[in-house]
């Protein structure tokens, strides 16, 4: 399934809607004025204002009782016209559907997908023609047989007639929909193969999607992964056994939302460049999640684009701030001597990185006050922003800012290292099951055991040993306390052999004078931090684990691995010369499942909204033109909205291959490929582009006026694939689209019915 669920932006939607409705209202008023003056000459103004005021009075005095009375009449009429006969067709289809569907797929999970698709498609496509016919023929038929004349003589407003019709037909379609939905639900339950694990497939998974970006072969962030030549560009790939990663950032990762576990589900795609080992042939490729809390990456991932500052950026990300300061000094000198190493475009990127990422992250630090470092980066970013190619003064300014930044970083190196940890918890590798929806679902407990790397070991030991020292348990009688081993193994989860190792190393440091014993406490002789000491010891490989299991530790997903409730999950492919493809929706946090009925009902709600919108359009059109014209108008709007709306948007945005209408026609005529373009001189090309600009303008208007019916049908795709229909990305846009068209359509329909001559059949 190729969806990319993006939450609906209500604010933007309302803004667009208001501007569009405003334009249409303005045009309507203008046309009304012109018409009034044309028909009544000088008195046109009065005529127009009277008409408008009476119309708005009508709108203000709508009576729900009268609307309901008209809706009841509509229902009775639909009943008389045997609208429910459509149910018979539905029943017949269900009786024989098994012939067409059961033998299509041997695999149960594929079968159930087809059954749900069939049911939802059948329901919507069977009711659609019925509501289209009824809504388009209702009012014209009333006018033809003059039954409307009797209605309008009653104290019923035209707007109430329109609303009554819309409401009546909508109630009718809802009743049919509910009937069909109930039967359909039972049918799906019965059709589900007996051997099927229904709890696994006939359910509604509730996903929480994150944002996705990639790390390239050098470990640098990029928006896209590798392209393996698949014509379908939905997925990007990461290379196995390299620094390539797909990185997901999940928001609101809290125990309140997720409970005391992390449920990750993925559906990646595998791509091989070689046949692979017998193991991977049979079991599939291996992928691995790593939960990462890396404050340096948070702050500096986008810093250092271009060769000039790349080394600085790498040192910052590695936590080697002293080296970073030295590299910044060297860079400051080169900015004067060799400004070409720092092209303007790279400086712009650095400026953006400082403004958007580095400074905000450093300012919002909770663990330490790094305001002065943030200020230095801000000044450096501003200077980078002012750089212009060939302007020596701007490079001098940049150099000064760079040197100042180097000084600040050097001064605060220890604090930065202390407060910007990197914690990586690699999870157990798993096999990519590919296209087996729901198979790659793994639940992790809140507390994760993992083997720490160098930095993790240093930070852990610095924290624990300094704590023991603070508690006065590290020294005893001017010597290192022999109870350290027991303290570490019993209270801090360190294995006895590693506890002995720590004891030995601390003792040797005391002997060497790096540490000094002061009463019951041990202190660093040169006054530096415990973290700096243990970082050195780890790097000097004095703390290599004596336990074969390594430095095994425990991390809490919510307390230790999230930053402001954001969780970073990196995905790697572990097999050499293999690739794993991923799209944003391919990895999600899975909340507790909802019942299939819940998702099915939401899909039905969207179908109901679609049918009601068709009714609204049909009734509105029928207020202006006769039944057949209204029917074909509504049908056309529906077909374009359902099947061609996305195409229209692509053409308008210029992303459709082949260009506009005229250019495409020329390509066909010239038998040329869209990627080559038309064979024409510059003049002709300009004319073609000009004509296409005009056509695209019309298309742009059409794409705004014609509803995108695929908004409604997308809900079915979720439930077909075993997902719950999300409120923010599917149900809400459907409701907003419906309401967005309902209001102007009621006004237009009522106005047209009010100002038309009922005798003109």
């Amino acid at each position: 399934m190729d969806f990319d669920p993006t939450p609906y932006n209500i604010g933007l939607g309302l803004k667009n809607w208001l501007s569009l409705v405003g334009i249409i209202a303005g045009l309507g008023i203008l046309l009304g004025l012109v018409g009034s003056f044309a028909s009544a000459g000088g008195g046109g103004g009065g005529l127009f204002s009277n008409g408008i005021s009476s119309f708005f009075k009508e709108l203000a005095s709508i009576s729900p009782r009268r609307v309901w009375a008209l809706a009841s009449l509509t229902l009775k009429e639909a009943w008389r016209r045997k609208a429910l006969l459509v149910f018979v067709v539905f029943a017949v289809l269900l009786m024989f559907a098994g012939w067409f569907l059961t033998d299509s797929n041997d695999r149960s999970d594929l079968q159930i997908n087809v059954h749900i698709t069939f049911m939802l498609t059948t329901i919507s496509w069977l009711i659609l023609p019925v509501v289209m016919f009824l809504s388009c023929w209702g009012i014209p038929e009333d006018i033809r047989i003059r039954s409307l004349h009797t209605v309008v003589t009653k104290p019923a407003r035209r707007v109430e007639v329109v609303l009554g019709r819309m409401l009546g037909f909508s109630i009718m379609s809802t009743v049919i929909l509910l009937l069909m939905g109930t039967v359909g639900y039972i049918w799906i339950e019965r059709q589900a193969p007996k051997d099927l694990d229904q709890g696994k497939f006939l359910t509604c998974r509730v996903p929480v999607y994150g944002g996705l970006f990639f790390l390239d072969r050098q470990g640098m962030p990029t928006s896209q992964g590798l392209n393996v030549g698949d014509p379908w560009l939905y997925r990007s790939f990461v290379e196995g056994n390299s620094r390539c990663r797909a990185v997901w950032m999940f928001n609101e990762v809290t125990p309140e939302k997720l409970g005391n576990e992390l449920r990750l589900e993925s559906r990646f795609e595998a791509f091989r460049t070689i046949k692979g080992s017998a193991d991977t042939i049979q079991q599939g490729l291996e992928a691995q999640y790593t939960l990462v809390k890396n404050m340096r990456e948070e702050a500096f991932s986008s810093f250092g684009v271009g060769a000039g500052l790349r080394e600085v950026a790498e040192a910052l990300r590695a936590g080697d701030f002293q080296s970073a300061a030295e590299l910044l000094d060297a860079a400051a000198e080169r900015m004067q001597s060799s400004p070409a190493d720092f092209p303007q475009v790279d400086c712009q990127q650095v400026a953006i990185s400082c403004a958007v990422q580095v400074v905000p992250v450093l300012r919002n630090f909770k663990d330490a006050d790094l305001g002065d470092v943030a200020d230095a980066f801000l000044v450096f970013g501003d200077a980078a922003n002012s750089v212009k190619t060939g302007d020596a003064a701007s490079y001098s300014e940049l150099s000064r800012a760079c040197a100042s930044l180097a000084e600040t970083v050097r001064k605060r190196a220890d604090d930065m290292f202390e407060s910007m940890p990197k914690l990586e918890v690699p999870l157990e590798p798993f096999r990519v099951s590919e296209y087996h929806e729901g198979d790659d679902f793994i639940t992790y407990p809140r507390k994760l055991k993992y083997v720490a790397d160098y930095e993790g070991t240093a930070r852990f030991l610095a924290k624990v040993v300094s704590g023991i020292s603070e508690a006065g348990k590290l020294a005893d009688g001017g010597e290192l306390s022999s109870g350290l081993v027991d303290e570490l193994s019993e209270n801090h989860g360190v294995s006895p052999v590693n506890a002995e190792l720590v004891f030995d190393v601390v003792k040797s440091e005391i002997d060497a004078g790096t540490l000094k014993v002061d009463g019951n406490k041990v202190e660093i002789a040169d006054g530096s931090s415990w973290l700096r000491l243990f970082d050195r010891l780890v790097r000097e490989e004095k703390l290599i684990s004596r336990d074969t299991a390594g430095w095994e530790m425990e991390a809490d997903i919510f307390d230790d691995l999230t930053v402001n409730d954001y969780l970073r999950v990196e995905v790697a492919c572990l097999n050499d010369q293999m690739f794993i493809g991923m799209a944003r929706a391919d990895l999600f946090l899975r909340l507790p499942d909802r019942s299939f009925l819940a998702g099915f009902s939401k899909a039905l709600l969207n179908i109901g909204l679609m049918l009601s919108l068709v009714i609204v359009l049909g009734v509105t059109a029928s207020c202006v033109v006769k039944g057949p014209v209204s029917f074909f108008f509504t049908l056309t709007i529906f077909v374009i909205g359902q099947f061609f709306h996305q195409l229209m948007l692509k053409i308008v945005a210029g992303s459709q291959e082949g260009g506009g209408m005229v250019e495409s026609a020329m390509l066909i005529f010239q038998h040329r490929n869209p990627s080559v373009g038309i064979d024409a001189n510059e003049g002709t090309e300009a004319v073609v582009k000009g004509l296409d600009w005009g056509v695209n303008g019309i298309l742009k208007i059409a794409s705004n006026i014609i509803p995108d019916f695929s908004t409604f049908s997308e809900a079915s795709a979720y439930i077909e694939n075993g997902f719950d229909v999300p409120w923010s990305t599917s149900v809400l846009p459907a409701i907003m689209t419906f309401v967005g068209f309902l209001i102007p359509c009621v006004i237009i329909g009522a106005a047209c019915l009010k100002f038309r001559e009922l005798e003109a059949k």
Partner: protein
Amino acid sequence: MNNLTSRQRKLVYAGCVLLLLIPIVYLGAPTSDDVIPGTRNAVSGGKLAQMRVEYDLGESTLGEIDPSSAAMNLVLLGLRGPAAGVLHLKALDYQEKKDWAKLKTTVDSIIKLQPHYVEIWKFQGWNLAFNVSREWDKVADRFYWVKEGIKFLQLGTNRNQTATFLYHNVGDFMGRKFGNSDEKKYFRKFFVIDPDDKRFNGTADPEINPQGKDNYLVAHDWFVDANEKDETYRIEGMTHVFARQGPSRSLFDYATAIQSEGQFGEENRSAWDKAYNEWTQVYGYDVFLGLDDIRYKLNSSLAELQSMAKENGVTVTKQQQVWEQNVKMVNYRFWQNFADCERDPLTVDAHKAIYLGKQAYSEGKISNWQDKDGKTQVSEAQTLFVDGLENFEKVFGKYPQLTDHDAYIEEVMLAVYYLEQIQRNNGQQMPEDFPLRDMVIQNLGRQPDIERQFRIENRPDF
């Protein structure tokens, strides 16, 4: 105006109705017998019914009728063409977007609309078995989609019993896709023991392999069916003399496959024997049309050539020329000699020794050792390779026409390369007079390929 009364007029009308009934019954009476699809068996009934059967114009004469397909076509009135077109486009889209469930359902809908459009069966059968299967990563999933493609083609033969090519295709896929692809090691195993334990409980999928046989033997049965169909409905789109090779070639493939899997007993010898007989006694005696419609048999003695020349009304020289041309084209003599050689126990022994030598090599039995008397005993692997090469030397003495057969040359050179590695391991040089030395020297150009093959065979997961 006439003077007939009303009753008389009615009688005249009745007479006319009866008269008209005679030609109607003669022409249009339906058949009273069961039509056996794809046989052209004569049936009773009206003239039109008989002609329908004779010219394969009726639905029931083409293949079994699927009620859902008939219902769908009826409901669509005359719109099945556009509907099928739209479905084809959707199928392409689903395939590009890797929505396999919908692809399969859409393909099924297309063939319900156009059940006798043989090209669709051919294309989609291929598409599922070859294109879709390779999109999946795990070998069991790939196997599933190859099966889907073959089942689809099998259904095609059921619906189109006059389409001989589809029968041939089923045989071809059974043999080639399962036995010749990169995953053949697994596919051949899965063909007998399906990986879907839950459904098939450690047996073969009965839809494609009801008797749990080897894939090449099932392919053989389908090729035999194809050749039988070919008697009535001549295969189109293939040179006839090649199309009819299916049964014997699948037996060759079967014998080669079990040999490469280490079966060297009576089963292997008998497989080659059967292949030889099928090639010479069945395929060899098939009558084909050559240049200028001259009939010939591949397995012909001079007397038979003379007799056929007489039948064809051409000179013996012309007959011989046509025969010779086709014998060369299908490499008839080579396959005859090859099968003859392979069924010889001497050749079986040669293959076996080399196979076991490779096994001993992979098990590390390559070092010479001292016995209790202090005498140096050569390693097991070396003994086997030397045996194999000596046997091959004898085989080439007996079948000199096969000394330039690529597979034999490669097997010999690879055995020599193994031997060289064993010698090197024991700190020795290859002796100057090792068996088949001349053959190796003549083919030194193949050495890089041999070394590559050696590396492949000695990968840990080979």
